[in-house]
């Protein structure tokens, strides 16, 4: 669809600590119900564990840590979103935790705005853009920076 309307981008909407995030749908490989994860002692806190996705061991990233949100436990609504992201030239499969997955929708590129440099709780480099969706402000995270 984005071929026809380049101004529209397909995104996956997810909820995290009361905020709504939008991920580029092209990065999303699958969405899983939570499975047991294995903690990796000594790893950085935002990628503190690994899990098994179809015979591959992939890291599980927690965006809460990067955005300074309070930790929360897994609920029936929680989902693991498996993404494929280019990290330092190498396609890397990672999982991220979401409190809730809403839907796949289209974002009008015209509504995307650069993150304001001040007046935000979060580190600006982690945010690619702020967008408007159903009268709500949503965050388009910069996954490469977050995982760097």
């Amino acid at each position: 669809m984005s071929d026809v309307e380049p101004s529209l981008r397909q995104v996956l909407m997810l909820g995290l600590a009361g905020e709504v995030f939008a991920l580029d749908a092209r990065q999303v490989r699958e969405i899983l119900d939570p499975v047991p994860v294995t903690r990796v002692p000594g790893a950085q806190s935002f990628v503190s564990s690994v899990l098994n996705v179809r015979g591959k061991v992939i890291p599980l990233a927690d965006l809460r840590v990067r955005f300074g949100m309070p930790p929360a436990s897994i609920t029936p609504d929680s989902r693991f979103i498996v993404l494929e992201i280019d990290l330092a030239g190498e396609p890397t499969t990672i999982g991220i935790v979401a409190d809730k997955v809403y839907e796949v929708t289209e974002l009008d590129a015209a509504t995307l705005e650069k993150a304001p440099p001040i007046g935000m709780r979060w580190q600006p480099e982690f945010i690619a853009a702020i967008a408007k969706w159903k009268d709500e402000f949503i965050i388009v995270p910069n996954m490469k920076q977050i995982l760097n």
Partner: protein, 666 residues
């Protein structure tokens, strides 16, 4: 292999093998100069490279190889002896061919011309003093007077299928002299029994030529294995029409001298045919390995389910048997014998011997020992370093050897063997041995160890593998810069192996690399620390003991166990991994070892052995040193694999600290 493979690539691949063969033959020839088999092998390799080079458009290669071949032909004819100098030039020529094929832009034609000039000079000097064009008149070999030979040959039935064309061979004969050929059709069967692609014809040829006898063998060089050839001289007046082939006239033995070598080689080749090989791209094997790995995991799950449910136990066992057989077969495919690597080192030692002015004998053993292909490739560089070190630092100068009453030629031995689930590769020399005092002095000078630190010999030797460490007084072109041995250690540990050093002053040094058989699947010991399960590679596990209450409480300040009189430092994995809460009542200690150093790992429970399919961790976890990878357990959960060398280093650091703070303790 993909069907649209570039023919030039095929040529490159084949010529790489042929050049290897040529190099081995040349090196062998240096040791036994009279061996005709070797000369023929080398000649054949050259000839094939020339032929296929021309066929695939590598004209420069073909031209150079042709010149090389012509010069070498004098060796084949026994007119020049393959001495040390000649072999050295021939090896250079071989290297030149390789660079012409692999990096044509770097192969300067001038170098080729120089090599050929040297080569020609040498074979001419070594010969009986006549230029190669005029072959020396040797009665048995032929003369420049025309002589007549009667040739009878009979091809194997399937010679046509294999690509030979008898008519072309006769044409080639015709180009060398006068030919009168008659065909014997006695073997042709009845029409309904004829196989259209079989050769039933025999030939009887009267051949008059000014060339020596050997040209006949040259014509048939590549089909000698598939034919019978009788060659007999015919007196000058006796050139009547060939007699009927029924005559059982006495003839010279079927195999002339060069043919003898060929037939032996053909016997070897026939043996090789029985175990025919097929080239498979490495990625396909890797992919298959992944699938087998998944199968092993699925099977483990099935076993677990069957054990719980009961009913399917028989099926589960059957599948277990199949899976492990499949896994072993898969591993077997990835295995290559060590000999493939040893070959390269013969050349290295040859060159080192020349560069260092030391006579060196290389002995090898265990060429049949097999190891995972990727590991063999990764081992090549480290072993080069070890061998260079042995030749440069290990072996004494010739005068020093004479003084010590040792044989003039230093010995370097290269041995590969299996030991349990490990492969040991040792490089030994009979040189001066390591100088513990000098290592210590250098290490203190470089600040690697505290002055007067108490170190065992093994610990002292491990310092050799520290980056930048070198005890060499001078830096030579070959070694002494202190890079090298650290590469050995890093590469070996990267493959979950270790390096041992044993040395005897004045008797020599032996460096042994211990490696697991494969990188893909290992036997592991599954342990539990708090709620998490970890895998310890079984090859590193020495024993498991219980942590006694006394050791447990005493160890608050000093974490040492007394294992049969030896003090072994131990690490509490709960502490190391920041697991809160109280440990289990009966903690166990897994004693792991690497490079003769032992460390105990305190765990809550030992679950048992576990067939571990190794999965690598992502880049995001590259900064976590305690784990070398991960695996998937029967219930689908992930367990991390402990990196034993790292944990041992941690334990050692702790031990050093304690020793430093309490010297009387040691």
């Amino acid at each position: 292999m993909s069907e649209n493979a570039d023919p030039a690539d095929i040529f490159r691949q084949e010529s790489a093998e042929l050049l290897e063969l040529l190099e081995q033959a040349l090196l062998d020839l240096e040791r036994s100069p009279g061996d005709r088999d070797l000369i023929n092998t080398a000649f054949r390799a050259l000839h094939t490279i020339k032929g296929s080079g021309a066929m695939f458009g590598f004209d420069q290669v073909a031209a150079f190889t042709h010149e090389f071949e012509s010069a070498f032909d004098r060796v084949r004819k026994g007119e020049a002896a393959p001495d040390r100098e000649l072999i050295a030039i021939a090896l250079n020529a071989k290297d030149f061919i390789r660079s012409q094929i692999e990096r044509p832009e770097e192969a300067d034609a001038v170098i080729g011309v120089c090599i050929l000039a040297d080569l020609r000079k040498l074979v001419a000097a070594a010969g009986v003093g006549s230029p190669p064009e005029v072959a020396p008149a040797r009665p048995a070999e032929g003369t420049s007077e025309p002589s007549t030979w009667r040739l009878r040959f009979r091809f194997d039935k399937d010679v046509l299928v294999n690509g030979a064309n008898p008519l072309l061979l006769i044409d080639e004969l015709r180009s060398l002299g006068e030919c009168r050929a008659t065909v014997d059709c006695a073997r042709v069967p009845a029409l309904d029994e004829i196989e259209p692609d079989a050769c039933y014809l025999d030939w009887d040829v009267l051949f008059t030529t000014e060339h020596p006898r050997s040209v006949i063998d040259d014509v048939f060089l590549f089909v000698l294995d598939e034919m019978e050839l009788k060659v007999e001289p015919v007196a000058a007046g006796e050139t009547a029409a060939p007699a009927a082939p029924t005559s059982d006239a006495p003839s010279t033995p079927v195999h002339a001298e060069p043919a003898a070598g060929a037939s032996e080689a053909s016997a070897k080749r026939a043996g090789a045919k029985e175990t025919s090989t097929i080239r498979v791209p490495a990625e396909r094997l890797d992919e298959m390995m992944d699938r087998v790995g998944e199968l092993v995991i699925a099977q483990a799950r099935l076993t677990q389910l069957a054990a719980a449910g009961g009913g399917a136990m028989g099926v589960a066992e059957e599948i277990e048997r199949l899976t492990s057989a499949l896994r072993d077969a898969m591993m077997g495919i990835r295995m290559v014998p060590f000999g493939s690597l040893f070959g390269r080192f013969r050349r290295l030692v040859h060159d080192l011997s020349r560069d260092l002015g030391k006579e060196i004998d290389l002995t090898t053993a265990g060429e049949d020992t097999e190891l995972d292909k990727t590991m063999i490739e990764r081992l090549a560089d480290p072993l080069v370093h070890v061998i260079r070190n042995a030749a440069d630092h290990g072996l004494e100068e010739p005068e020093a050897r004479a003084k010590a009453g040792k044989p003039k030629a230093g010995r370097i031995s290269l041995v590969a063997r299996h030991a349990g689930a490990e492969v040991l590769i040792s490089v030994g020399d009979d040189g001066r041995g390591l100088d513990a005092k000098r290592i210590r002095a250098k290490a203190e000078e470089g600040g690697l160890i505290a002055p007067n630190a108490v170190l065992s010999d093994a610990e002292l030797h491990q310092l050799l593998f520290h980056p930048g460490f070198s005890t060499a007084k001078t830096v030579s072109a070959v070694s002494g810069r202190g890079v090298g041995l650290d590469v050995v250690k890093r590469t070996t540990e990267g493959m979950r192996g270790s390096v041992d050093v044993t040395t005897e002053p004045g008797q020599g040094t032996q460096i042994t690399l211990r490696l697991p058989l494969t990188l893909a699947i290992i036997e592991g010991l599954l342990v539990r620390v708090a709620g998490a399960r970890y895998v310890v590679p079984l090859t590193a596990v020495e024993e498991c003991v219980e942590l006694s209450a006394a050791d447990d409480s005493r160890s608050k300040e000093r974490s040492f166990l007394n294992i049969r009189g030896d003090l072994v430092p131990f690490l509490r994995l709960r502490e190391l991994f920041d697991e809160p809460g109280e440990p289990d009542a009966h903690q166990k200690v897994v004693i792991v070892t690497a490079a003769d150093t032992r460390v105990g790992l305190v765990v809550d429970q030992i679950i048992g052995s576990h067939q571990t399919v190794i999965k690598s961790l992502s880049k995001l976890h590259a900064d976590v040193p305690s784990f070398s990878g991960a695996t998937i357990l029967g219930d689908g959960a992930v367990a991390l694999i402990l990196d034993v060398p790292h944990l041992i280093a941690l334990g050692q650091a702790r031990e050093m600290r304690i020793k430093a703070s309490a010297p009387e303790f040691a």
